[in-house]
Symmetry: D3
Subunit: 236 residues, 6 copies
């Protein structure tokens, strides 16, 4: 059997400094995504299943067989306070692989949230417990504990590659992942953007137009966009 | 014309005892689904359109032509207090076949909720009235009253087969159907699970790991899952 | 280069009278859609991203390259108090083309809401600001300002054709568009329906059946729908 | 453990007479669906993965865990010449649960085709072998043999309920299921339709209009459809 | 009842000259779409259901109730040789509204193809007859003849607005619509593009790079794209 | 500006030995996927757009802005004989970013095929040229050349992570990627599986059951699967 077959649970992963994660959480997903050069964003199929929660933490990753939550249980032991559990399946699934029991277990370990490219259940309980989840579905479909998988290996969730220890930021806009190595740089850039955006917001709220604020009129002209007074008699 | 063509409204259906339905509602969808051997769950395309409502009731079923709500009106007369109206279409539709007027009519008859494999409209009114709905869509698209269909015949909704008089349980996790004949057995099993889960939840919240609580370490070893200390140098 | 290539920003569009729009907002999407002969409804892919907001306003339309919000900035200048910005892309996109900065700008101009056949971001901020949006997605994906498009040309959003100056009505049920020329006629019809519906709702809430209220029994008989007492021994 | 948990393989199922299935195959899916009162049609998510094959046979049904083909192997033994294997999963899956090895096994037993509400692989081999499949996906994703399921129990595939021994008819238009008890009646009706359609086809090909052939003009008038000479000045 | 409710069949529509349509067919969908300024393309949900057919013709449009083909029959009478029938439904449907009988009728009138934002059936027959169709689905689902609609009114199909008499061009790449008024201009532009493309194809086939042929190197530099020799040590 | 913003074209990538790629192509996608421990498979959204082509080659990767094919042109220059071009977009797109002109250019450089997580056009020409493509869509939608991206950086396509120089194998079953470092090991394992499968196929074709060949009867018993003679009186 070639080594490609191995299912592993990796015990030791490197994590970004806590303060960097705090700064990224403060910036929020949209700003972090911009600050990271518009990379690392998970697709819109994964949605916040509550409102008003913003988290950032180190990814503990899980690659599970679809319809099987055995490896989620194995992953819990690898979690530390401040981590975010990131669950993927080896093929598409919307099964409810995660519910209030696993959330109790993760909260006991200080995990700050779950990102899962599959379904969750007991959603009313999860909301009541204050444990935030970002998932592809809410579905009560039960799972088995029968097939092997891996913990803390690189995974892909909703089109984004995530390595163990990468920083996951999630809020009402969705989820973005920042590589551990770039996390501090991105936090710097994000804070720069926040300051810059505050000025812009003030100007725009005062009535300054974006076409002026961003100096877009020359670009529009260059691109051949023509201003006309009267309606164009064209069909849609 | 063979008998296969008949469109019927069936007047008399058998219903499960009220107390069994009350017990199933108390258990909730995820637990009932487990207690029923992980059968009867409707797919995640049908979602709760409000939060915090749990219902259980006897299914009064409707098979409608798409874009036509004639048979829903015919079904109202067949409803009794405690029933759940279950509406399906003979082919895919997201039309808003149900709104506040039909809800008024159902509430007048004591119906406790609607499950529809199509759309609803007047959703703000439905929420204000406190009439819970589980639907595939919210869509204002109007319908006609022109084509025949049937009431209280077996139907399929979101991948689950439902017979008239089956018990429908619905909450924020979705919808599950339990056969009338098995409803009491499933209620027993569900209550057993609830007691069992309370113990587990307590243990997990206290820090016991699922791999220990469920004795999963031998299984992981049998399946060839290996614990390693250092990261695996593998691409995602 | 044929004229078909021209990208234009049209400055002057005709708008429906404000009072007509107020009347349409009061009627709501489902009733307006009915009053308009069940035309003009946007598909259910575009959803309200908040609850409890009903708006009606004149459409200022945008046709953008996907992943590019340059033309939204150009459109802001064309907006007047009471307008609704309607954004479409020349091919499918769920990118977050609109966020809190553009919302600040639109609010400064008195725009009452956004309908976008793409994504929005900063959704928590948009909700906090009270600026209502109807969109296909919530997605933080950033966009560029690089490609030309048009403002105030006819567009198609979620399957509905919209011309600049058409009246857009939006609430928790979705979005409907009414041609400017027919807006007053539709408002009249909508108000007629509201009065009529109030009577029906009262009758239905009092227990009158829809099959009697709408006189559907003869139709059911004509269509060959048969009432039977006992269950039909048929498979689903 | 309540009886609801049992996983079973049922050995003896009743089948429709061979000649009835031959007649249904000759009629084809669209005609059989009509003859059966427009019931029993699987949704368009399940498609023919080759062209030009029409089959009809008795359903041997499988309910599998997603991502697991153990029960397909158990089902092979239950198949007889002329059967159609019908595979479903307990939750959504597009995994390639079936390939050329299983096809070899089924062909050895005289099975005439596969209908699967999941994926197939080795599609080039399946086509070369002349073993027709109707599936939701073509996907190479491998599966395990780890979880229990059932054979020859009632299932739902693509929205249609199928019992063991029901007649499955499939061609380039898709798949329809006819209950064993009604198969002969439906075959009679289908043949009546075929004769009738031949006359209609001849008339239509000769230029007779459907509005005349079906006498639709009075209906159009009754429904208020008005013929006008000039274009309607309406926006889309 | 306001005029908005009227269902009409429009008898007289204007058509583009035959030779213009012949020229557009010769150019094919991708080139016509480019020549029309990248407008008028139907979305990829509508696909060719055969290979190797290219058609262009005048749109005779149908707006049908979903699951109802009454208005298709009414539309046949309005068709002339060289026309393309364009069928839409007032809400989403994949029903098989069109089969071999209607195709026989259309072929008798010289109609060159069908574009339908819904399903077709009898697909094997349609291919054998040589009648090309572009549809959203192949589905045997039967329809009724019960609800009114309109013929030769503006419609929206797969996101594109189509007016009666517009030129519809369709091939293996999909479907594009060109307004009748611009058809000749677009045909001119398309032929210019074809000549231009032949030169480009020759150059590219001979090994000239697109970055040189289109002079893209300065643009890449302006946009900040940097050429580097060694791999970037970045995660996906 | 942090380094995260850089758009790069990487000139030198490492490739797997040609003979290894030949061996992987001979094994085909399903077998390679198994041999690689069921990893690296692209999702079923990416499909072969022709039949009967099997390729294997080194990935030259592209990360493009949606609706923009500038970077594909930049990538052509980086291609060598035997390469496979792999195109992704930074957010979802089905635009026809690739057609016959680019195919001419790639064929001139000896590229053996295209894998694109977006659309292609000129599909009839591509088939006629014998240039195989695997894509998410066929769509004539045109693109611009306006926004920067990268070439030969790690990308994610249809849920699978792909690095420059990884081996891409594609056939009628879809697409799988194998890391360059493991390619030879996987080729060995694939050939072992092929030999093994030939034996199994022979046994199965001769009537041996999979439950015996794989010794599954004890597992079925362990899992509690019960063989019964008579139908289970259960609803679907």
């Amino acid at each position: 059997m070639p080594s490609t077959h191995r299912h592993v649970v990796v015990r030791n992963i490197q994590r970004a400094p806590t303060d960097v994660m705090t700064r990224l959480a403060a910036a929020g997903v949209a700003t972090v995504h911009e600050a990271a050069g518009r990379t690392g964003l998970l697709g819109p199929t994964i949605q916040a299943r509550q409102t008003g929660h913003t988290i950032a933490g180190s990814a503990v990753t899980v690659a599970s067989h679809p319809g099987d939550n055995l490896m989620i249980h194995a992953a819990v032991e690898m979690c530390q306070p401040g981590d975010v559990l990131v669950v993927t399946t080896t093929s598409e699934s919307s099964d409810g692989m995660f519910g209030d029991l696993l959330a109790s277990s993760l909260m006991a370990r200080g995990v700050v949230g779950l990102v899962i490219d599959a379904g969750v259940r007991d959603i009313a309980d999860l909301r009541a417990m204050g444990f935030p989840v970002w998932s592809k579905a809410v579905h009560a479909q039960g799972t088995v504990k029968a097939s092997p998988g891996s913990v803390n290996v690189p995974v892909v969730a909703a089109g984004a590659a995530i390595r163990p220890g990468d920083v996951v930021v999630a809020d009402d806009d969705g989820v973005v992942v920042v590589s551990r190595e770039l996390a501090a740089t991105v936090a710097d850039a994000a804070e720069g953007r926040l300051a810059n955006e505050a000025n812009k917001r003030e100007a725009l709220a005062a009535g300054t137009l974006g076409v002026d604020l961003y100096d877009l009129r020359p670009l529009l002209a260059d691109l051949g966009v023509v201003y006309v007074d009267d309606p164009v008699e064209d069909k849609p």
